[in-house]
């Protein structure tokens, strides 16, 4: 499989289906694991990193339960290929920027990835569209069990799975849900929402995870505590309490916009649509912002002739890495803005 086999279509976790799909974009679970007998990566020689990479690559590519597993070398990838992989959430920004032997195994139609030599030796990840954490957990647990039959992980009876950073210790689990919350922002309730999340010991991050801003009103909510809690309990709490509560806040904010601030809403939607349909140069941040408003308008049934799948597709295809991979070459910022505007116009008109 090549990256260009992926680049022209939307990744499955972003297809706009699933439970609470108007607000919940996707569900994600990751597990942090390390092989016993090796140092963590900060104290690992290049030879050891290479040994770890080859070991996991062989194990993962030969796992019967993975569908169409393929390996992508990140160390020798071109800059635009790394940007592309970050945009599709196949690798993290941290991994794109690092050095040394490292790579990613992608399977299950991009719903499973395994980053090798990121912050830990192995970072497994499962994704699904909509709110589907239980399914993500079942799948990742099954894959993790299969790997554990071939590799001995660093594990301690008292501390659980040992990780390079003590904040991931124990279960090594990060449960995240990506949410689209434009109405909370428009009604100026974001600060309240972020404070409430912090109080519940949850992390709030932007579109591309750690250290990124909330572009296009997308937020990732995730657990922070990984030790002293069972994986199933975190999944259950997110599924039955935390996410439904946030979805309700957003819905109430949308109703508020519908009622008291109808003109404001109408104006935002009309402006977004007009700019997207007619502009000649659009930066990727502007595109995210306008597409976000458009997406809300469609979900609130204010805009009727554009399917959500088209908007989701545009979110991804207008990112810098996607534009360049699909063109097959590097493009200057101005050329990208021109091509982005043209891509959007073609799809919307």
């Amino acid at each position: 499989m090549k990256l260009t086999d992926l680049s022209s279509k939307v990744t499955e976790w972003f297809n706009g289906t699933g439970l609470m799909a108007d607000i919940v974009i996707s569900s994600r679970i990751r597990l942090a694991r390390n092989i016993a007998g090796f140092n963590f990566l900060t104290k690992c020689s290049n030879a050891d990193k290479l040994a770890i990479l080859n070991r996991f690559k062989t194990v993962l590519l030969n796992l019967d339960i993975l569908h169409d597993a393929a390996f992508f070398d990140v160390d020798n990838a071109a800059e635009i290929e790394r940007v592309f992989m970050v945009e599709r959430h196949l690798i993290s920004r941290h991994m794109a920027a690092a050095t040394g032997p490292r790579g990613v195994v992608v399977a299950d139609n991009e719903l499973f990835t395994a980053m090798i030599n990121e912050e830990d030796h192995l970072r497994l990840q499962t994704l699904k569209p909509g709110l589907a954490l239980t399914a993500c957990w079942q799948r990742i647990n099954e894959i993790d069990d299969a790997i554990q039959q071939k590799v001995r992980y660093a594990f301690d009876r008292r501390l659980g799975y040992l990780t390079a950073c003590p904040t991931n210790l124990g279960t090594g689990i990060r449960v995240s849900v990506m949410l689209h919350l434009p109405a909370l922002k428009m009604t100026e309730q974001l600060d309240k929402f972020i404070a409430a999340c912090r109080e519940m010991n949850l992390a709030v991050r932007g579109l591309f995870g750690e250290g990124t801003e909330a572009l296009g009103d997308f937020f990732q909510i995730s657990n922070q505590q990984t030790l002293g809690v069972r994986e199933e309990d975190i999944v259950e709490k997110f599924t039955n309490e935390i996410i439904p509560a946030i979805v309700n806040y957003e819905k109430r904010a949308r109703e508020e916009l519908f009622g008291s601030q109808n003109e404001l809403l109408e104006d935002k939607l009309a402006r977004a649509l007009a700019l997207l349909k007619h502009a000649r140069l659009i930066s990727s941040n502007e595109a995210l912002f306008l597409l976000s408003n458009l997406r809300m308008g469609v979900n609130m049934k204010r805009i009727t002739n554009i399917p959500i799948s088209t908007i989701n597709e545009l979110f991804l295809l207008t990112q810098p890495g996607h534009l360049q991979i699909n063109q097959g070459r590097c493009l200057e910022a101005r050329q990208r803005d021109l091509l982005r505007a043209a891509t959007i116009r073609t799809r919307l008109n």
């Binding site: 501390l159 003590p166 210790l169 404070a195 922070q224 030790l227």
Partner: protein, 161 residues
């Protein structure tokens, strides 16, 4: 809610004082609270009391903190503190004392794993759950200032660990 002193920052510290039966409330931001001599530290005394109770057992002598170096990977505690990443799995044992408060702060005071366990290592899970339950009881006992029960619970936790 805004800080009632500066009217700018969000009030994160809420004080209730009862003097001669008169109840008064204050809502302050971190800075104004510190300026008034109210430190956040004083609010953490329960946690501190707990961790000192738990840490009182088995403190190895001769540890002078930052200069310890892991004999397996060569990382020093100082290097870990500045980089935030450990060098190898043994560091959890080598820097046990120093890591205890770090782990407690990151994991809502938990110190013991109670989730998934690799096949072949099963007996520890029940134990871990028991320890977490005892810790909650210990917390409640300290809150009620029932130190006799707290001491018993502490010993039970130590024997299970």
């Amino acid at each position: 809610m805004q800080c009632q002193n500066c009217n700018k920052e969000t009030a994160t510290i809420h004080l209730t004082e009862i003097v001669n039966g008169q109840r008064s409330e204050k809502h302050l931001c971190q800075n104004c609270a510190e300026a008034e001599g109210v430190t956040v530290k004083s609010q953490l005394s329960l946690n501190e009391l707990l961790s000192s109770l738990l840490a009182a057992q088995a403190k190895p002598g001769g540890e002078d903190g930052e200069s310890i170096v892991c004999p397996h990977c060569g990382i020093s505690l100082e290097q870990f503190r500045s980089g935030g990443r450990l060098g190898c799995p043994h560091d959890y044992e080598v820097f046990k004392q120093a890591l205890r408060p770090v782990i407690a702060a990151a994991h809502n005071e938990a110190q013991t794993h109670c989730g998934k366990t690799p096949a072949g290592i099963t007996e520890s899970v029940d134990n871990a759950l028991k320890i977490e339950q005892l810790k909650k009881q210990l917390e409640a006992a300290v809150r009620k200032e029932d130190y006799e029960t707290a001491a018993k619970l502490r010993d039970q936790i130590a024997s299970l660990q």
